[in-house]
């Protein structure tokens, strides 16, 4: 009950802040609010608050348990993205005044067709990013309560919709900055407590991992998704309905069942998923799908995440709050530091999880490793308390990111895709939330980190070339941009569809399908440049470029001498 109470508390708090709206940031003085501009530190806290999703809070540690220490390249890429953003995009994007990539497309290239295409891309990225958030929220809720997964997802959807309709659409900077501090606190304090509480033996094992071959104690494993286990030796498992023997061979375990494996039993294999041995787990590279190309796999993830960050629409929107280009650049710089602090800790959870709850990979539930840990270390009230705190943090992460994503998706529909005047944003938002819930229901078996990385890949192959070339290359034409974005969108979504529904591929092909960034990003850039070179840029493109790169102070009149006291 504790974790659910914590979630209820968090939702209530968010709702209250949302309802009170700007009143939450009222100061003692009624005047001069406008001249008090947002500092880069506050804005970067808001950016980080929006950015640190459930995939960061839970997913990275889960991937560490599953794929080994190499999974820590994900947070490296997530953070490095802000360096690319800082150098290439932040300031010119702010100077353009554009709120989202579709706005930028219209401002720079004046093409309504490109604007609509970009809105479609926003929807694709948003869906790939929002579905894993809902999935993780559902998993966590069902892990800490007795309810099944779909109830968790529905509850998450309902909570988000209600929050959005009751004031969540303000996208308030102060709320997001507060959410970041909350997440940071709720992530770091339990981590420190876990390390201290775990004891010297576990700490030693955590840095010297061994292969997970036998259960070291009686272990209950509850399955949230259908899994096929391959058993090598006969093993007698306990189920709520009584004991049963698993004979050698393949066994299909239905979702919702719980099996208790006895101490000393050999760990069954999950079909299509080899458990990592100690050396593999420690390797500092990502060998995805056992393709045998760990270096390429690592580069694929790094390229996608580092270049995709600049194309995340809900993050770009936050930079609009900066008063000018210089402040936007500073915001990006501070964000690197804030995220760097946060991402020191997923590795801690991952290493501890590998020792304490390795069985999670059997049930495809490695994403819940963070919330599963406290109960392993302490069975008393401190364990429950920290489980509650971590659940609260995970839900905060889910809430903050989903609000931003749903808002930006419904904005793309209501603002860019539907014709007509003032559209009903509130209705669109609820419809988009419902659609995301429907997509999240069958998405249990795909890891949050993987789906989110696909979202980054689409962004890196579409918006990254559009923004980088649009900002730095005056010869870009609307036709070139259209071709490049279409190329990137079709290739990446084709690869994702193939990876999700196609036949299992292995080796280099398999890697290039699951991590398409190494070929789709250069392809999109090439298409954009090649088609642009065939056409002529618009006569005003130089002026548009100047607008992006000249300091605002040169364009505006000198500031007044008598600023308010």
């Amino acid at each position: 009950m504790g974790p659910l109470l914590a979630v209820a508390l968090l939702v209530l708090g968010t709702l209250l802040i949302g309802l009170r709206g700007v009143a939450a940031m009222r100061t003692s003085s009624d005047f001069l609010v406008a001249s008090r501009r947002v500092s880069p530190l506050l804005n970067s806290a808001a950016v980080s608050g929006e950015y640190l999703s459930a995939a960061s809070f839970l997913g990275v540690a889960g991937l560490v348990v599953k794929d080994g220490m190499g999974a820590l390249w994900y947070p490296v890429g997530f953070t490095a993205g802000y360096i690319a953003m800082l150098i290439l995009v932040a300031a010119p994007m702010r100077r353009s005044g554009a709120l989202t990539p579709p706005d930028f497309a219209e401002a720079r290239l004046a093409s309504p067709a490109l604007r609509r295409l970009c809105a479609v891309v926003v929807l694709v990225i948003g869906a790939l990013y929002a579905v894993p958030q809902f999935r993780t929220a559902g998993l966590v809720l069902s892990a800490v309560s007795a309810y099944p997964y779909w109830v968790g997802v529905l509850v998450a959807g309902a909570v988000v919709s209600v929050t959005l309709v009751l004031g969540g659409m303000r996208a308030a900077t102060y709320v997001q900055a507060f959410q970041f501090c909350l997440k940071l606190l709720l992530f770091i304090v339990p981590a420190v407590w876990l390390v201290v509480q775990a004891g010297p033996e576990v700490r030693h094992d955590a840095v010297n991992p061994v292969a997970f071959t036998h259960f070291t104690r009686e272990t209950p494993v509850s399955f949230q998704v259908d899994v096929t286990l391959r058993v090598a030796e006969p093993v007698r498992v306990e189920t709520p309905g009584g004991g049963a023997a698993l004979l050698p061979g393949e066994h299909r375990i239905d979702a919702g069942r719980t099996l208790v494996f006895p101490e000393g039993a050999r760990v069954p294999e999950v079909r299509g998923d080899e458990p990592l041995n100690g050396a593999e787990w420690r390797r500092p590279l990502l060998d995805l799908e056992d393709s045998g190309h760990p270096l390429l796999g690592t580069w694929g993830v790094l390229l996608a995440t580092a270049l995709g960050t600049m194309g995340l629409p809900h993050i770009l929107m936050r930079f609009h709050t900066s008063p000018d280009g210089r402040a936007a650049r500073r915001t990006a710089a501070v964000t690197v530091v804030l995220l760097g602090v946060f991402y020191l800790f997923p590795g801690v959870y991952g290493a501890l999880g590998r020792v304490l709850v390795p069985e999670l990979y059997l049930s495809h539930a490695t994403d819940t490793v963070v919330v599963a840990l406290p109960a392993q270390v302490d069975t008393g009230w401190p364990g429950s308390l920290f489980t509650a705190l971590l659940t609260m943090g995970a839900f905060a992460a889910f809430l903050a990111t989903s609000l931003g994503l749903l808002l930006v998706m419904s904005g793309a529909i209501a603002h860019d895709l539907l014709p007509g005047g003032l559209r009903r944003l509130r209705i669109t938002v609820v419809l988009v939330a419902a659609g995301t819930v429907l997509l999240a229901l069958p998405a249990t078996s795909v890891d949050a980190g993987v789906l989110v990385t696909w979202g980054f890949t689409v962004a890196a192959s579409t918006f990254c070339p559009l923004l980088v070339l649009g900002i730095w290359w005056p010869r870009l034409t609307a036709a070139g941009a259209l071709t490049g974005v279409v190329t990137g969108l079709l290739t990446t979504s084709g690869a994702i569809v193939a990876a999700l529904f196609g036949p299992p591929l292995s080796g280099l092909t398999g890697l290039l399908v699951t991590q398409p960034a190494p070929w789709t990003v250069p392809l999109a850039f090439t298409a954009m440049v090649a088609i642009s070179l065939r056409g002529r840029p618009a006569p005003w493109s130089r002026a548009a470029m100047l607008r992006l790169h000249l300091d605002e102070a040169r364009l505006r009149p000198p500031p007044s001498q008598n600023r308010p006291r």
Binding site: G21, V22, A23, M25, R26, D30, F31, L32, V33, A34, S35, R37, V38, N43, R94, G97, A98, L99, T100, D103, E106, A107, A110, M169, R170, A171, A172, T173, Y174, H320, T321, S322, P323, D324, L407, S410, G411, A414, H415, G420, G421, L422, L425, V429, P539, R547, R556, P557, S560, N562, P564, R565
Partner: protein, 359 residues
């Protein structure tokens, strides 16, 4: 000698005499409409070549060119000899009359009665057709000029609609300041500075747009001065979320609304009144509310005021409404929520980004 062709010849140009005007009336109509669209930027614009291609197909000529006053040509089809055409255009532009004979004729083009360029047609086309074609191009040019001047007129109207400082307010503010010079010289100096600041902003004539941040700054100075005039009767609350501070808006859209709220919510009654101004983001929009707790009014009257049929002293609201609609489109006008005895709330909703709206 044959000049190097600008683009590969049209495929029908291989059998020049086989080209005939299309008998399809609708096709001719759509081609004619297309020409008007293509010539939107004039003869030197980017659509001139496209227009020439359409005209060539319409006339069934072997080659057709549109020349502007500088003599630069946009050819469609097979270009005629360079020197020949140059001499012909020179003749036409100097004599301001048709020149040449089939298969190479040139007609002058007049827009608003002034020479604007020339139409050159190569091939077996009857001179009467060429004259008609030239007249059509001239009409298209006329229309594009009219459109440009209509746009300029709308811009000028927009500038003219910009709010003016009310003389009533200037007089009151200066009177209050002068009354304070003796008793509270420091406060008087501060108010004087505020007054200078406010007039500087209101009278500034650079660009058409500013930021929400600047607008709020302006209404804050305005409210400080009004508070000096009205004293304790005016209570004020200004709240703005940082997300909308950078949004670009037309100059002085908020000040008339605040002035209106003070006039109807505070000055019109004996007791104290509260004026609240708030700005916040709602998705991709920025929503600014100006609210007073005064007497309110009949919604029908508010409607009349917005339509510009109100009393002469409340022209400010209608003015702001028209400017907003002009800049952001018909949907983005003012929304007035009011009822007798319930105060008045005026809501401004603008997109957080609109192409072309830049501070």
């Amino acid at each position: 000698m044959d000049p190097s062709p600008v683009r590969p010849p049209h495929r029908t140009a291989a059998r020049p005499w086989a080209v005939r005007p299309r008998p399809d009336a609708m096709a001719a109509l759509s081609a004619a409409r297309g020409v008007v669209g293509d010539l939107r930027d004039g003869l030197a614009g980017s659509g001139a070549r496209r227009a020439a291609r359409r005209m060539r197909r319409l006339l069934g000529a072997r080659g057709l060119a549109l020349a502007d006053l500088a003599g630069s040509l946009a050819w469609a089809g097979r270009p005629a000899g360079d020197t020949e055409v140059k001499a012909l255009i020179d003749a036409v532009l100097h004599a301001e009359a048709a020149s040449g004979r089939p298969p190479l004729v040139a007609e002058p083009l007049f827009a608003n009665g002034e020479l604007a360029g020339a139409l050159v047609v190569a091939g077996p086309v009857r001179p009467a057709s060429v004259r008609k074609a030239a007249a059509w191009v001239a009409d298209a040019l006329d229309r594009c000029r009219l459109e440009t001047s209509a746009e300029q007129a709308a811009q000028a109207e927009l500038r003219a609609l910009r709010a003016e400082i009310s003389p009533h307010f200037v007089y009151n503010a200066l009177t209050v300041i002068s009354s304070l010079v003796g008793s509270e010289p420091d406060r008087a100096r501060e108010l004087m500075t505020d007054f200078a600041d406010y007039t500087r902003y209101s009278l500034a004539r650079h660009g058409d747009y500013t930021t929400v941040s600047e607008e709020f700054h302006a209404i804050e100075t305005y409210l400080i001065l009004q508070r000096a005039v009205l004293g304790e009767r005016l209570r004020v609350q200004v709240r703005v979320a940082p997300e909308v501070l950078g949004v670009a808006v037309p100059y002085l859209v908020l000040q008339p609304l605040v002035e209106n709220a003070i006039r109807h919510g505070v000055e019109a009654r004996a007791g104290a009144g509260l004026v609240q101004v708030s700005g916040e983001a709602e998705g991709n929009d920025c929503v600014i509310c100006v609210e007073d707790d005064g007497a309110g009014m009949d919604p029908a009257r508010a409607k009349a005021i917005l339509a510009g049929r109100g009393s002469p002293d409340s022209v400010g609201l209608a003015n702001v409404d028209r400017r907003l609609r002009h800049v952001y489109g018909a949907w983005y006008g003012l929304v007035v929520e009011t009822a007798p005895g319930a105060g008045t709330r005026v809501v401004v909703r603008v997109p957080r980004f609109q192409p072309g709206v830049m501070p």
